[in-house]
């Protein structure tokens, strides 16, 4: 018996009024699975994440999300001077569970501290969020999602700008969190990262392909359709290391 999927999209189209930014999206994500969302800038990755979050309503098709979603966005640089500690950011995840007149108290503080511990940042709980490194900031936002008791984690370019050890540590954490029965969606430019996910969904305005990485990524025509044909193959890598053209700017 297959478990009920956490996210299920069928013929999904969504956008911001006018022509839909994405269409024909079909996938099902089960508990414990990770899904890499591949596509160029402006290809609709963020639009799909926003639809899953419930910020955009489908203009066609259906989208069922069977769990609370915690989102791990990229931090805008303008917010790096925001006057909050790592613990306070994690505590933001408790607000929706409190009645409107109550402020977070000791129980919420402890829940946030536990979540920071879980992502390996207990010692930095009192550090200002903007002073943390990029990888640490991602972990704090993951802690916030854990405090929310999110069954689905949505990560937007989580590895962007991280050095290799940070990225590997973060990847291990994501695998662990998925292993505990969460569904994880990772929007990424990085084909190597995508290879280690359970599923890959290629999107470029419309869905190009969806399936297991070894099938989807083996097909060069899929990558050409996803990135508009302008992909660069790294010589001597036997076709495994293919960089999309937008790798270093978005």
């Amino acid at each position: 018996m297959r478990p009920e999927p956490l996210i299920e999209a069928a013929g999904l189209a969504a956008g911001y009024g006018g022509a839909p930014a994405i269409s024909g999206v079909e996938f099902a994500l089960a508990a414990g699975q990770t899904l890499a969302l591949l596509g160029p800038n402006g290809g609709g990755k963020t639009t799909l994440l926003r639809a899953v979050l419930g910020e955009l309503r489908p203009v066609a098709g259906t989208l069922c999300v069977g769990a609370a979603c915690g989102t791990v966005p990229q931090t805008e640089r303008s917010r790096l001077d925001y006057p909050v500690s790592a613990l306070e950011v994690a505590m933001m995840g408790t607000l929706s569970q409190l009645p409107w007149w109550r402020r977070p108290g000791r129980a919420e503080r402890e829940a946030a501290a536990r979540a920071l511990d879980r992502v390996g940042l207990r010692s930095l709980a009192d550090e200002t969020f903007g002073r943390l490194s990029g990888g640490q900031r991602q972990r704090v936002l993951i802690a916030r999602a854990l405090v929310q008791a999110a069954g689905v984690l949505l990560l937007d370019e989580p590895f962007s700008g991280l050095d290799r050890p940070s990225a590997e540590g973060l990847e291990a954490l994501i695998v662990e969190l998925a292993g505990e029965g969460r569904g994880v969606v990772i929007a990424t430019h990085d084909l190597e990262q995508a290879r280690s996910c359970d599923l890959v969904l290629c999107i470029n305005g419309r869905q190009v392909a969806c399936g297991r990485p070894e099938q989807v990524l083996a097909d060069v025509s899929v990558l050409e359709a996803t990135y508009g044909g302008a992909i660069v193959e790294i010589p001597g890598s036997e076709g495994r290391a293919i960089l999309p053209p937008h790798h270093h700017h978005h």
Binding site: G54, E55, Q74, R79, P83, R131, S133, G134, G135, E157
Partner: protein, 285 residues
């Protein structure tokens, strides 16, 4: 030092700047982080015609200011909906229109003398009713900020994720603007139309340099605003300068002082002496 305290007008003025300063300073921290400094200034200018009409009719200024600020807010919202008109342009158009209307009314033969006190404030003319209104404002702002704290913190930090965290960004924005409008119509009586923005922006900007957590920053901004208010009144009392302008200048002085103090505070925090962000490459945005 104590002699001015014997004067009832000085007593009322001191209570007025304390209440307005505490409320304006704390509220100002959110204004600064929400990028609403320009909006705060615009709101203040746009209530000028309401103030003039109230002065002509001889009713409390609040009765003119409140409808004017609502009218301005609605006009801005409407203009911003016109295709090709940015929000900033809409604000500029509405504010100049409203302010110009106020000047027309102020220069009409029927307007009473002393209109300049609407522009520059008349903090020493505060009546008991004005002080009571300021006390009401301080309570409203304190309760409002207390109830909204979590929502404002989230919506200001991360607008994209706010909804999934149970926060409505439009509600948080609107609630903050309502508090700002309430603060403006009360504070404008003491500080005047042209100077009132100082109490929202100056102390908060100074506190931002000295503190890296929201609640301490709000407390500090409130304290600095009160301090500057009292210093401004004393300056005005002894130097014979205009009350509202003296307070505004004292606020500017507080901000200027915060610049070297902020650098000092940063240097003394060892964990913040270097920028840890630099140890990892920045996102390639």
């Amino acid at each position: 030092m104590l002699q001015p305290l014997q004067e009832p007008f000085m007593q009322r003025a001191l209570v007025e700047v304390t209440l307005v300063g505490a409320a304006g300073g704390a509220l100002g921290c959110w204004i600064v982080f929400y990028g609403l400094s320009y909006a705060a200034e615009s709101l203040a200018h746009s209530i000028f015609p309401g103030l003039v009409l109230a002065a002509i009719a001889g009713v409390p200024l609040l009765l003119g200011a409140a409808p004017a600020i609502v009218l301005a807010a609605l006009a801005i919202a409407l203009c911003a909906r016109i295709a090709g008109v940015s929000r900033e342009a809409a604000v500029a158009v509405v504010v100049t229109t409203m302010f110009g209307l106020g000047v027309l009314l102020a220069l009409s033969p029927r307007s009473p003398p002393g209109v300049e006190s609407l522009l520059f404030g008349d903090v020493f003319g505060a009546t008991n009713a004005d002080v009571a209104t300021a006390a009401g404002l301080a309570v409203v702002v304190a309760v409002g900020l207390r109830l909204l704290h979590g929502q404002l913190l989230i919506a200001g930090f991360d607008r994209g994720a706010a909804r999934s965290l149970g926060v409505s960004v439009p509600f948080a924005d609107a609630a903050l603007l309502v508090l700002l409008a309430a603060g403006t119509v009360v504070a404008v009586q003491g500080l005047g139309n042209l100077l009132v923005v100082a109490v929202f922006v100056g102390p908060a900007a100074a506190a931002r340099r000295l503190s890296s957590r929201m609640l301490p920053m709000m407390a500090l901004a409130a304290g600095l605003a009160v301090l500057a208010g009292v210093a401004g009144l004393y300056l005005s009392y002894y130097a014979g300068t205009a009350g509202g302008a003296s307070v505004a200048l004292a606020i500017v002085a507080v901000y200027l002082l915060s610049l070297p103090l902020g650098r000092l505070a940063r240097a003394n925090r060892p964990s913040e002496g270097y920028d840890r962000r630099m140890t990892e490459p920045e996102p390639s945005t």
